[in-house]
C-alpha cells in the first residue's frame, strides 16, 4: 500500500478538484446568504475560470495516473482531453450567462442554489468522462452527469412539459445505463480487468472475439450512443429538448454531447488500437468492424435527424433533430479512423458549440419576448426584431454549413477527411443530407423575413447584456469562417491521446 502514489495522482485531477470545491462553495454561499442569490453565478464563473487555467496546463501533459500498487490507474491527462474540457468550460460559462437572462430560470428564484450546484455536478461528471481510462469510472461519471441532468431537465417544477421531459429522460437514461453496465460486466467477465489500457493488451491475445465479445461492445456503445443521441438511441432527444428549460437544452446539446464523443473516441482508440501508420490512419484490432458499424450508425443518425426535422413546427424540437443530425456528421469523422478525422471532429465541435449555443440563445430571447417557440409565431420577426433575426439567420446558416460562416469550415474539414480516406460514397450521402437540412433551416428564415405578420408587432429592443452575449457568439462564427488557421492549429496540437 502506497499512500504517496495516490497523493501524486492528484495532480492529474486539478480541474476536477477545483470544480468540486466550487460545488461546496456554491452550496455554502446559498446557505449563508439565504434569499440573496445574486452572488452564485459570479462564483460559478470565477470557479470555471480557475479550472480553465488547470485545464490549459493539461495541454502539456500526456500521462496516466497510477494505482497504489503501481499499476495503471483510472485517470488520464492529455491534450485531447484538455481540448474537450475547454469546450465544456466555455459552454458552461456561456450557459451561466444565459441563465441570467432566462425568464424560466428567474422564476424558480428560490432554487438557484440547487441550479448552479447541479450544473457543476454535470461539469464534474463530464470532466471525469473525458479523462477516464477505466470502464468503472466511465460508468460512474456517466451516472453523475445523468443524475444531475435528469433533475435539471425538470427544473421548473410547475410546468407539465418540464416534468414530462424529466421523467422520459430518467426512464431512457436508466435503461441505457443498465444496458451499458451489462456490457461492462461481460467485458470484465471475459478479461478480469476494466482498465482500457490493460484491455487493449488483452485484446492482442488471439482467443478474443466471437458473439459474446461483439455483444458486449455493442451494449457499451448503446450507453454512449444515448449520451450523444445517435440513432437508434435518440428517442429521448426531441421530447427532452422541447420540455427542458432552454438553458439546459442548450447545455445538453453541446457539453453533454462533447463529453460523450470524447468518451467514445477514447474508448475506441485506446481499447481497440493496434497501430497508427505513418499517414495517421488507425489500424484497429481485427475484433469488431468499427468502421462499417460507425458508418452505418452515422448515416442512420443524420438521415433520421434531418428528415424528422423537416416536419417540426416547434423551434426547440427542430434544433433537437438538427443536433441529432450533427451527431451523425461527427460520427462520420470518427468512422474515418484517422488523425485527420479526429482533427475534423475537434474543429467541428469548437464551431458547433458557438453556433448551436447562439441559436438556442436567440430562441430563448424571442421566447422571453413573445412567449412562444412555435415557428409560425416567428412571422415578420425580421421587421420587429431586426438584430435578433439577423443573428438567428447567421447561426442557422452556419449550422447548414454555407460560407462565409464557420459552419462551412467545420463541414469542409470533415468532407476533406472523408475524401482523403476514399470514402466518397459516404461523403456524397452526407452532402445530400446537408442539402436536406438547408430546407428546414431556411424555412425559419422564410417565416421571419418573407411572411408578413398577421398583426402589427411593436419594435422590440434587445437588452445590453443579451446584445453583448450575441456579439460574443457571432464574432467566432464570422472569424472562424474567414481566419480559421489558429483553430486548426489548436486542433492539430490536441489530437494526442495518452499512449499514442
Amino acid at each position: 500500500m502506497n499512500f504517496q502514489s495516490l497523493i501524486n495522482s492528484l495532480q492529474y485531477i486539478k480541474p476536477e478538484i477545483v470544480i468540486a470545491v466550487v460545488i461546496v462553495l456554491v452550496v455554502t454561499t446559498d446557505l449563508i446568504m439565504g434569499k440573496n442569490k445574486s452572488l452564485l453565478p459570479w462564483i460559478s464563473i470565477a470557479g470555471l475560470i480557475v479550472a480553465s487555467f488547470f485545464v490549459i496546463e493539461q495541454f502539456s501533459f500526456k500521462a496516466v495516473s497510477s494505482n497504489a500498487n503501481g499499476s495503471i490507474g483510472m485517470i488520464t491527462a492529455d491534450p485531447f482531453g484538455a481540448f474537450f474540457k475547454i469546450i465544456v468550460i466555455v459552454s458552461s460559462i456561456i450557459i451561466v450567462f444565459f441563465s441570467l437572462s432566462s425568464n424560466e430560470i428567474k422564476e424558480a428564484f428560490e432554487r438557484h442554489g440547487e441550479y448552479y450546484t447541479l450544473i457543476f455536478g454535470m461539469i464534474l461528471g463530464m470532466f471525469f468522462m473525458i479523462s477516464s481510462a477505466d470502464l468503472i469510472l466511465i460508468y460512474l461519471s456517466i451516472e453523475l452527469l445523468s443524475l444531475s441532468s435528469y433533475i435539471l431537465a425538470g427544473f421548473t417544477k410547475h410546468s407539465l412539459r418540464n416534468s414530462e421531459a424529466s421523467l422520459k429522460y430518467i426512464i431512457y437514461g436508466g435503461a441505457s445505463s443498465g444496458i451499458m453496465l451489462f456490457g461492462i460486466s461481460i467485458i470484465y467477465g471475459l478479461t478480469g480487468t476494466t482498465n482500457l489500457y490493460l484491455l487493449n493488451s488483452f485484446f492482442h491475445l488471439p482467443q478474443f472475439g466471437g458473439f459474446i465479445f461483439w455483444l458486449a461492445c455493442i451494449l457499451i456503445f448503446a450507453g454512449i450512443g444515448f449520451k450523444i443521441s445517435a440513432a437508434p438511441f435518440h428517442f429521448w432527444t426531441p421530447d427532452v429538448y422541447e420540455g427542458a428549460p432552454i438553458t439546459i437544452t442548450a447545455y445538453l446539446s453541446i457539453a453533454s454531447k462533447a463529453a460523450g464523443f470524447a468518451l467514445l473516441i477514447r474508448f475506441i482508440k485506446v481499447t481497440f488500437i493496434d497501430s497508427v501508420d505513418a499517414s495517421g490512419y488507425w489500424q484497429l484490432l481485427n475484433l469488431i468492424d468499427w468502421k462499417s458499424f460507425l458508418i452505418l450508425i452515422s448515416i442512420l443518425t443524420m438521415t433520421l435527424g434531418n428528415f424528422a426535422a423537416l416536419w417540426q413546427s416547434n423551434m426547440k424540437r427542430l434544433l433537437a433533430y438538427s443536433s441529432i443530425a450533427h451527431a451523425g456528421y461527427l460520427l462520420l469523422g470518427l468512422a474515418v479512423l484517422s488523425d485527420q478525422g479526429l482533427i475534423a471532429i475537434l474543429i467541428y465541435f469548437a464551431i458547433y458549440a458557438f453556433m448551436n449555443l447562439g441559436a438556442f440563445f436567440v430562441v430563448m430571447i424571442i421566447a422571453n419576448k413573445i412567449g412562444s417557440e412555435e415557428i409560425d409565431d416567428y412571422k415578420g420577426l425580421g421587421y420587429s426584431m431586426p438584430f435578433l433575426s439577423f443573428s438567428i439567420a447567421v447561426f442557422l446558416i452556419s449550422l447548414t454549413g454555407i460560407p462565409p460562416t464557420a459552419g462551412f469550415i467545420a463541414k469542409l474539414y470533415l468532407f476533406i477527411a472523408l475524401v482523403d480516406a476514399k470514402m466518397i460514397a459516404v461523403a456524397v450521402i452526407a452532402l445530400l443530407n446537408t442539402v436536406v437540412s438547408l430546407y428546414y433551416y431556411i424555412k425559419v428564415l422564410k417565416n421571419m423575413y418573407l411572411v408578413r405578420p398577421e398583426k402589427e408587432m411593436p419594435a422590440v429592443l434587445v437588452s445590453p447584456a443579451a446584445f453583448a452575449m450575441l456579439i460574443v457568439l457571432l464574432v467566432p462564427i464570422f472569424l472562424f469562417g474567414i481566419y480559421f488557421t489558429p483553430l486548426v492549429n489548436l486542433a492539430k496540437s490536441s489530437i494526442g491521446l495518452m499512449g499514442f
Binding site: 499512500f3 455554502t28 428564484f109 428560490e110 467477465g189 398583426k455
Partner: protein
C-alpha cells in the same frame, strides 16, 4: 475446473435449494388444519384495519434518505478509523473532508427546512413574468 464465478453459482444454488427444500419438507410433515383465525392476514397479532395501499406522506422518504446517508457514513468510517493512524495527517484530512461534506449536507437539509415535519412554505418572490400562452390568446381574441 471451477472458476470464481462457478463458486458463486454453487453458493447461490445451495442458498436457493436450502430454502426450497426446507419449505417443501415442512409442507410434507406438518399437520394441515386451517381455521378462520389461522387464515387471517397477520399483523402483529392484531386485526388488520383498512387497506395496505394507502398514500404515505412524502416526508417519510426524506427521513429515510437522511437515515441512509448517515448509515452509509458509519459503514465508510469504521474501516477508516481502523487504519488512519498509518496514514498520518493525510489520512486524517481525507476523513475530515468526507465528514465536512456530510455535515454540509446536513446543514443544507436543516436550512431548507427538510428536518421539520411540516415543511415551511417558501415565499414566492414577485417577478415580472413573461406572457403566458393564455395571455397571448386573450390578447389575440381581443384584437
Amino acid at each position: 475446473m471451477l472458476t470464481e464465478f462457478g463458486k458463486i453459482f454453487i453458493f447461490m444454488l445451495t442458498a436457493i435449494l436450502f430454502t426450497v427444500v426446507a419449505i417443501f419438507v415442512a409442507r410434507l410433515i406438518r399437520p394441515a388444519r386451517p381455521t378462520h383465525e389461522k387464515l387471517l392476514t397477520y399483523e402483529c397479532g392484531e386485526d388488520t384495519i383498512g387497506s395496505p395501499w394507502v398514500k404515505f406522506n412524502i416526508r417519510f422518504y426524506v427521513v429515510a434518505l437522511i437515515f441512509l446517508i448517515f448509515d452509509v457514513e458509519v459503514v465508510l468510517l469504521i474501516p477508516w478509523a481502523l487504519v488512519y493512524q498509518q496514514f498520518g495527517v493525510g489520512g486524517f484530512l481525507v476523513g475530515f473532508i468526507f465528514l465536512f461534506l456530510l455535515g454540509l449536507g446536513m446543514a443544507y437539509e436543516w436550512r431548507k427546512g427538510d428536518l421539520e415535519w411540516i415543511r415551511p412554505e417558501l415565499k414566492h418572490s414577485v417577478l415580472k413574468k413573461t406572457k403566458t400562452e393564455k395571455q397571448i390568446l386573450k390578447e389575440e381574441t381581443v384584437a
